[in-house]
Symmetry: C2
């Protein structure tokens, strides 16, 4: 529960509300992997399942649903037999790649520094 003084300091938490919603998706392991998997073009359900090793059907469905709800991907059903469903990034979803890749490049660029810092920290502490 938010304490009583929340109204006195709303700026930080409230201002970040929409940002955090995005961060929850961006920080989500499966979402990021799916965005990357969909960069090349539309893909089918089981195709994505194979492209993202380790994901379960459940999480694939849930993540795709969430991303579709956020308008990041589209879901197109072809009424064939067997059924066929294609997922594709929307313009919005593609535009998300840029800032996400900025984070990714920061991570790659500073990977060594972070590893060194961790090694230093672990050496001093247990």
């Amino acid at each position: 529960m938010i304490p009583d003084n929340a109204a006195a300091t709303p700026s930080l938490l409230d201002a970040c509300a929409p940002v955090r919603a995005i961060l929850n998706r961006v920080g989500d392991k499966w979402s990021v992997l799916l965005v990357m998997a969909l960069c090349a073009g539309p893909r089918r359900f089981n195709d994505l399942k194979r492209a993202v090793p380790g994901i379960t059907q459940r999480m694939l469905t849930l993540t795709l649903r969430g991303m579709e709800r956020d308008g990041l991907i589209t879901r197109e059903v072809f009424p064939t037999t067997p059924p066929r469903v294609e997922y594709a990034l929307t313009e919005l979803g593609r535009s998300l790649r840029e800032p996400v890749e900025a984070i990714g490049q920061w991570a790659v660029a500073n990977e060594a520094k972070i590893a060194a810092a961790q090694a230093r920290y672990d050496a001093v502490n247990g």
Copy 2:
């Protein structure tokens, strides 16, 4: 557990390993709020606790520890009575602000689109 065919498709998951480590921190609610709280300058423990409404002592401690281990912040102890500990962003921590703010600006810029997409989705579905 990663399935046996992990070795056959290592690129996607493995290439993202360091990135995901960062994303776990960037996507972390408390980490982001702490980075923002520390932007203005060094702050003390209880000062941060007040600045980030809703955070518990436990999570504040754990998050600060993690960020210190990653080399994002420094922890300086002043052997006074009562004890006094100041936390501050490192150069690395400050450099993280840029890509994080890129995400933030994307979120703000596309907030309306996302809300609209969600409203559309919710109108069609339950």
